[in-house]
Subunit: 248 residues, 2 copies
Amino acid sequence: MTRIATLSESRDSCHNCRLRTLCLPDNLPKDDIGKLEGIVQRRKPVSRGDYLFQAGQRFNSIYAVRTGAVKTSTLMANGDEHISGFHLPGEVIGLDAIVSRDHPSSAIALETASICEIPYAELETLSDHTPSLQHRLMRIMSRELLAEQSTNHLLSRRSAEQRLAVVLLKFSERFAERGLSALRFRLPMSRLDLGNYLGLVPETMSRTFRRLEEQGLVGIAGKEIEIVDSGAMRALAFGAEGSQVARA
Amino acid sequence: MTRIATLSESRDSCHNCRLRTLCLPDNLPKDDIGKLEGIVQRRKPVSRGDYLFQAGQRFNSIYAVRTGAVKTSTLMANGDEHISGFHLPGEVIGLDAIVSRDHPSSAIALETASICEIPYAELETLSDHTPSLQHRLMRIMSRELLAEQSTNHLLSRRSAEQRLAVVLLKFSERFAERGLSALRFRLPMSRLDLGNYLGLVPETMSRTFRRLEEQGLVGIAGKEIEIVDSGAMRALAFGAEGSQVARA
DNA sequence: CGTACTGTTGATGCAATTCAAGGTTTGTGG
DNA sequence: CCACAAACCTTGAATTGCATCAACAGTACG
C-alpha cells in the first residue's frame, strides 16, 4: 500500500508536483495520492503540433498537463477548425469524452509539453472505494463547467476589444495561479488560434491588439504580453463603469 | 433496504418516472434507484418566474426538472442578464456550483414546473459507497460539458440564421428524446430570452425567424414551431456553403 | 536561404445593432 | 368578462463593427 519512493519517482511524483493543488491530487489524503500515483503514466514529452488524442478516437484516458500548453479543437462540417480551449499545467483534458465512447475533440500540443496520462477505467475503479478522489473529480468537472460557461458568456454579444481584454485577463489570472507573473507573460498560442477561439478573424485580432496598445492598456511584443493598466482592462472587460473591484 | 412502495410513492417514484433514462437513475440497478429515491425531495410545483435558487445563494442541492422548463442566468457587471441555458424535463441543474460554496447562476421557471431537489451532501454520501451512482454522476457532468461546448461552438462566428437553425434543431432533438414530436413543438421561452442566449437582439430574432419562414424552412406561430424542411435546416445549420465560410 | 506560416495594413461591403415607433399578446383587477 | 397596463414582438431606416479582399512584411525552420 505505502510505496517507497525512489529518487526518480520522487522527482516526478504527484506528492511533490508543484501543480498538485490545481490538479487531481488537491485535497487528497497522502495515502490516496499514493494510490493515484500508482495509475498515472508519465509519458515522454510531446512536441509542438503533436496530438495527445484525435477526435473520433476511442476514449481510454484523461490527460493532465504538467508543462507546456495544449489546445483542444473540433473539426466543423465544412472542414474548418474550431478551438474550444487552451490548457495550462495542472489542467485536465478529455473529461468531455466520458459520456460517449469516443473523444469529441482533438488535443494538440502548442509547444513542447509533458503530460500525465490517467487510464479512465483504472481511475474509475480506484475512485469506487476512494471517496476523496471521487469528490475531487466532481469538483474538477464542476470547475470545467464553470470555465465553459464563462467562455459562452465571453462570446455572447461582446465587442472584439472586450473579448480580447477578457481573455488576456483570464490568462493573467491563470498564470498567477501557477506562480508566474500576472502582469508579464507569454501567450502560448498564435494569434490565429486565439482569434479562432474568440470568434474573430486574424485581421481583427491584429487591429484589436493594436488598439489596446494605443490606449495604453497593454504592451505587446509578439507573444509577450504586458498588462499595463489592469484597472482599465477590467473596466473594459467587465461592464461599462469602474473596475469591478471598486465595489465592496 | 428494500422499501415498500405506497401508492403515492409509486406514482412519483424514480422507478416509474418516464424520464429515468435521461435523469440520474439511468443505468442504476433497482436497489440503487431505491436508495436514490430515499434522498430525493419532490417539491410542490413552482410557477413562471419563480426562482429555484439565486446566484450567490449557498449551494445545498442540485435540482432535476420533472415537468415544465427552467432557464439559468447570471447578472453581468452592468446589470444585464445573460442566459446560460434552458433546461427541459430530465435535466439536472446546479452542477456548476459544486466547486464553490455558492451558486454562480440563478435558476428561474419559464412556466409552471415540478422539480426534484437532491441535497448534495446526501448524494455525495450515498455515492461514496454506490459506484453505479458515482459513474452516472460523472457521465451527467460530462454530458453537460459537451452541451456547453456545443453552445460555445454555436456562438463562435455563425450568422444569426445559422444560430437560430442550430438551436431549433437542438430543441427538436431534445423534445424527441422526451417522446414528443420532433417536427412540431412549443418553445418554452420568449424571443427575448432566446435572443439573449444566442447573443442576438430581439429585432434580429424577429427578422431571422421571418427569413427562415420565408425560405420555407419552418412554420412559426408565436411560440409554436414547425420544422418544415429539416434537410434544408440541417444544411443551413451545419452545412458547407451557408453564407459565411465557404472555402476549398 | 528559400518556402511556408504568421502577422500587419488599408479599402470596401455587409450583417447585425441601434434608434424609433407602432402593434400584439399576456396577465390582472375591477 | 372587460379594461387596461405591461410585457413582448414586429417593422423600417440609419449606423457601425467586423469580415472580406488584397497585398505585403516578418518569422520560423527544415
